[in-house]
Symmetry: C2
Subunit: 418 residues, 2 copies
């Protein structure tokens, strides 16, 4: 992709409304633009990253045997009344009436919809276990939307729902999802922790959160560096902690995933029964499993940045390499760009080519800001010796290589990821 053809409005200054670094950098790097409080446009560069997250989540959900569906954003009040959440859910649930005066809401979550879908279409234990998921735009009318994508009103979630014939089987479904989440966060190349968590307002009696570690995280986590114990302080109970208090380490986390065993919290009020193995009618045990897809984009930046801008992990980078072309009108630079692009394409690596007529300083600053993992600078002086300069955005390490040669670490990156 050429910069001259890309809608990438980068900014030199931090936007006045942004308080946290991810919000500042998302706006400055031309990834998002605010439409109204807590509601954003995703620009091409930002959407590329969102899709990378989405695809990794989708692949691992499919691998774990979950089936993708798409439920609606607009939901009828009747289903929420059945579970009592129409009354209980706070003002975050955006309620409205349509032209026929039917009460409806914008879905912040889909337990009611999916449970209704289940009870109308599944009748027997033979059809279980069932796990369906969607990746979808959700709305929660936050009282004080803030921190950009970290606490927006319209956002993208992956939400999955499992149905089982008993608690034992439901806990197996839960374990399958927990394992899938570990694979997802490893593939996203983020430093994360799974911790014990409160079940909160969703209900149920078993739950874990997944946090991206970052100094700016809103949650306090405690974990045993030598063992498995890890907990959100909200859930921490010094009396029952298996580790001595002074052995626990502290960390700040950004919650990006939450999994729950729900039991029959939704299926009981909605009167969902299936035929069991002995022909009897029996209750159905649910689990629900969320991932904040758009929040992960922000959390990744909170964890991966420096004073010059974003530093994308390879798995999330909108493009793997930025080509900084110091003289796009120069014949040697033109040929070097072509040769570099051919070498990248052969390895399945993607690039963004800064072919604009800008000063070198501006080009270097932009490329550092948008954070592609590798930079390749083409200039007439080095090209006279047949060389180009590569820079690893994270380490800052620079190497001069022959035109068309790739740094070994980059060259091997796709093979490692596959």
């Amino acid at each position: 992709m050429k910069f001259s053809q890309l809608f990438l409005p980068v900014l030199k200054e931090d936007p006045a409304e942004a308080q946290v670094v991810s919000h500042k950098l998302l706006v400055r790097a031309g990834m998002i633009r605010q439409v109204t409080s807590g509601v954003y446009n995703w620009l091409p560069f930002g959407l590329q990253v969102l899709r990378k997250v989405e695809n990794i989540v989708r692949e691992e959900m499919n691998r774990a045997g979950a089936q993708e569906v798409l439920m609606p954003m607009v939901q009828p009040a009747e289903l929420w009344q059945e579970t009592g959440r129409w009354q209980k859910y706070g003002a975050e649930l955006l309620r409205f009436t349509d032209r026929h005066e039917h009460e409806s809401c914008l879905g912040p979550t889909h337990e009611e919809i999916v449970t209704d879908l289940f009870r109308r279409n599944v009748y027997s234990y033979k059809q279980l276990p069932l796990n369906v998921y969607q990746i979808q735009t959700k709305f929660r009318d936050e009282i004080r939307p803030r921190f950009g994508l970290m606490r927006g009103r319209e956002f993208m979630m992956k939400d999955a729902y499992s149905f089982d014939e008993n608690k034992k089987s439901a806990l197996e479904s839960y374990a399958t999802m927990r394992d899938a989440y570990h694979r997802i966060f490893k593939r996203l190349e983020l430093d994360y922790r799974m911790v014990l968590a409160d079940s909160g307002s969703i209900g149920g009696d078993h739950s874990n959160e997944f946090h991206v570690l970052a100094a700016t995280g809103e949650d306090d986590l405690l974990f045993d560096p030598n063992g498995d114990y890890a907990v959100n302080v909200e859930k921490h109970d010094a009396e029952n902690c298996p580790v001595a208090e002074d052995q626990l380490e502290k960390a700040k986390g950004i919650e990006v995933g939450h999994i729950f065993y729900l039991g029959t919290v939704y299926t009981d009020p909605m009167e969902v029964k299936i035929q069991g193995q002995e022909g009897n009618l029996q209750p159905v045990h649910m689990g629900c499993y969320g991932i904040g897809v758009s929040r992960i984009v922000a959390a990744a930046i909170e964890q991966n940045h420096d004073e010059h801008g974003i530093i994308w992990p390879m798995a999330l980078a909108p493009y793997h390499v930025g080509i900084i072309d110091l003289r796009p009108d120069d014949e040697a630079c033109k040929q070097a760009a072509e040769k570099t692009i051919a070498a990248l394409s052969e390895k399945g690596l993607t690039y963004a080519h800064d072919d604009r007529a800008e000063k070198p300083g501006a080009k270097f600053a932009t490329m550092d800001l948008i954070g592609l993992p590798w930079q390749c600078t083409l200039g007439p002086r080095e090209l006279a010796d047949g060389l180009v300069e590569w820079k690893n955005r994270r380490t800052g390490e620079r190497t001069k290589l022959a035109v068309g040669e790739l740094p070994a670490e980059l060259s091997n990156a796709m093979a490692v990821a596959a």
Copy 2:
């Protein structure tokens, strides 16, 4: 994919609420389920088809140089007030107030949002032409939602918006989109017509519609079978028609695409100016380009079905081949299934394997209903001679082939598509 693991609730009977064949078959084939009037769940089988349409549209939009963005579903009233549409747009625009009493609406279209995005980020003719698009859930509060996906309230659209420095360039952008639309509908393998159309409420003075031809279409089209003239009757003007009236043929169409040259209908009231080539501030010319992604799924069925069910074109089929396993517990059937699956996978063909313990009649009926383009039946009798039976769902033609051999037409299908 195995039927025993797929959430595919097929129905023997037509749903009472369905009037048109696509609605009946979408529900019976386990593709969609209604949540509330005009609002549907997409089940795994239906979502697969929706994604096929989405991917073809995305690939051709990218090829045409358009850049993908994602704008919000919730939109602030202020922008709609600038263009006057907050007042002019009828009750189809679902308006509501959020918890802070801000007036908002659910987006049925995004001219205001994209024009605002443009004016805040693009300042010079050097950044043009620009074409951005999204594939997104939209909401229109239809007074009488009907015909399933044909006239729903929540639906999926591709909407694109072009920005140019003058009318000449804008009409070139329009032509690029028109060509992209022809490629899209050819790749979707649908019988369609592009016709001249009224610009309607969106404004502007140049527009074409794309219709999928189907006996059940709501629009009347007239076209010259020997020439290029084709028109929606709404737009037909006998006085100025270049062809003798009696040479025109009639057809029924389902509108699935609409492209407009908008001129400055939105940029004028929203006061959008860019710096022109002479340093002057000048107006910006827009075009907008819609495709009804979810409606295409219904239109494809209206055009491709028989009394037994759906007949998917290869490009839209959720899976290319249905394997009807008459005795999933039989060792010969098991081996034949494995060999057939291996042969399909080698060619990049996908399959759904009916491995359920059902009677043959039910299996044949289900496979005809869901409409996969090819069926392969495995039964002990033919397998004693090393044979399986292949059926082309569209022609009904049957052939007996050795296990693991594919019909030539199927075997070549992917090479042709690529």
